[in-house]
């Protein structure tokens, strides 16, 4: 049976540099290594559980995104049947309708693929990621939620964003959590004052290129003593919140070599920002 070990060796030399003897050590790391792996697995499981919970808050939005193309498909198909039965021979009409059916079916499939990717329980996979793709994936999931709650969405994605090395699903999780928090924070704000800003820009910090992502809302904002506690595990202001979202969000961002922080929005609401280092 093999075990994880670290061996070190150090020679003792005389004045001419000849080796007189060797000192050696072997440290058995096996238990430590296994504990580390178990910890990583637990972290991934916790992240997954939190992600699924966050998705739960936007299920009606997701259902709508699937239902919408399905409704269109049914209408188009019924229209085709009518044209064919009517015997008008309007093949151009049928062709147009069927092309639209294909597009809508693809649209529904894309929503499902996005949801499945987010719900999947798989180890993180670090690949080159476009931050603007992460933003549009998340926006696609919450768009309906925003509409229904009369929240105006402003996105600002610069075209010169560098690629970053990261796990797309985990990054979506971080952003989705921030957005869901913002939506929640605007629940009791006047309808014409609900505004959500999501932006991503390239940023230079101590000579290093970063992507800076900003989520800004016009919600209830942060109390002065609250900012320091926000990222603590089990800290929550929601009635049925678990207090895991931001804590996990921060650990994911830090796992990517970035930082996540919060500050009050000038005027009203809160700003959450995180950085992700650009790919070398």
């Amino acid at each position: 049976m093999y075990r994880w070990c670290v061996s070190n060796a150090l020679p003792l030399r005389d004045q001419e540099g000849r080796i007189l003897k060797w000192y050696g050590s072997v440290v058995d790391l096996h238990d430590w290594k296994q504990a580390q792996e178990a910890l990583r697995t637990r972290e991934a499981e916790l992240a997954h559980a939190t992600r699924v919970m966050t998705m739960g808050e936007v299920t009606s939005s997701i259902a709508h995104e699937v239902n919408q193309p399905l409704g269109a498909i049914i209408n188009y198909a019924n229209a085709c049947l009518r044209i064919l039965k009517g015997g008008s021979g309007d093949l151009a009409g049928v062709t147009t309708a069927l092309s639209a059916v294909v597009k809508d079916a693809e649209r529904a499939a894309a929503v499902i693929a996005r949801v499945r990717a987010l719900a999947r329980k798989s180890p993180p996979e670090m690949v080159a990621v476009e931050v603007s793709d992460v933003v549009s994936d998340v926006v696609a999931l919450v768009r309906r939620e925003l509409t229904e709650r009369r929240i105006e969405l402003i996105t600002e994605l610069y075209s010169d964003l560098p690629l970053i090395l990261g796990d797309r699903v985990q990054l979506q999780q971080v952003l989705l959590n921030l957005v869901v928090n913002s939506i929640e924070a605007m629940r009791n704000i006047r309808e014409d004052h609900r505004q959500l800003f999501i932006g991503a820009r390239s940023h230079l910090e101590e000579g290093k290129r970063l992507v800076l992502v900003t989520v800004r809302d016009s919600g209830v904002g942060l109390k002065s003593g609250e900012i320091s506690r926000l990222f603590e595990t089990f800290y929550t202001t929601k009635a049925n919140g678990m207090g895991m979202g931001l804590a996990i969000g921060r650990s994911i961002v830090e796992g990517h070599g970035g930082r996540l922080w919060a500050k009050p929005n000038a005027g009203q609401g809160a700003i959450f920002q995180f950085t992700l280092p650009a790919m070398p």
Binding site: H64, N75, Y76, A79, G93, T147, E148
Partner: protein, 202 residues
């Protein structure tokens, strides 16, 4: 154009598909991406109905229903709702929506609802036109004749009216026959019914 169906939905594909489906069933359709766009549009004066998503961005379906009511625009509305919109549904019903369909809807349900809505709008337009004509006839009465008519429909006799308005019975008789002519009423009973209709709306 005999009638028209208006469709308002913010999802372009859903809107186009609904339009196509209704067109293939033989209706004229005009569709809009928002409630605001619909309000700004020039609409033909023919029997119509409105197919409306309850949850539209900005001005919602319910808001539009209120706006139309305030502007005195009467049009039957078929609401399209998602699942779990019960409170909204109740609100819309109270405000006079004719039908509710959930998305995606069954073709036959939609087409039946459209037919019923257009029929009811046709009947309502007919009634409104009749009332409009009646009101026009009433407007043609002189102030004195209106005073007499008020009393006639209460069942007062010519003599009583003459006493109250300090005129001769003969004068009242003449007024009375003018009123019957101008209002195109063939009997007192008919005149009473006309007065009731006018009171209901004026």
């Amino acid at each position: 154009m005999e009638s028209i169906v208006f469709v308002i939905d913010d999802d372009p594909s859903f809107r186009r598909s609904t339009q196509l489906l209704i067109e293939t069933a033989g209706f004229d359709v005009s569709s809009f991406a928002s409630a605001e766009e619909f309000l700004r549009s020039q609409r033909p004066s023919v029997p119509a109905c409105l197919i409306l998503d309850v949850r539209l961005p900005r001005l919602s379906g319910l808001d539009l229903q209120k706006e139309l009511f305030k502007a005195g625009i009467q049009i039957p509305i078929i609401f399209i709702t998602g699942h779990g919109d019960i409170p909204m549904t109740v609100q819309a019903m109270k405000a006079g929506a004719v039908e509710f369909l959930t998305k995606p809807f069954r073709e036959q349900e939609l087409l039946d609802a459209i037919r019923r809505a257009i029929d009811s709008d046709r009947a309502a337009r007919h009634e409104r036109a009749k009332l409009e004509a009646l009101r026009g006839r009433y407007e043609s009465l002189t102030p004195r004749e209106r005073k007499v008519m008020e009393r006639v429909v209460l069942g007062m006799l010519n003599k009583q009216i003459a006493d109250e308005l300090q005129r001769t019975e003969k004068t009242i008789k003449v007024h009375r026959s003018h009123i019957m002519q101008k209002m195109q009423a063939s009997s007192l009973a008919e005149l009473v019914r006309m007065a009731e209709r006018l009171r209901g709306r004026i």
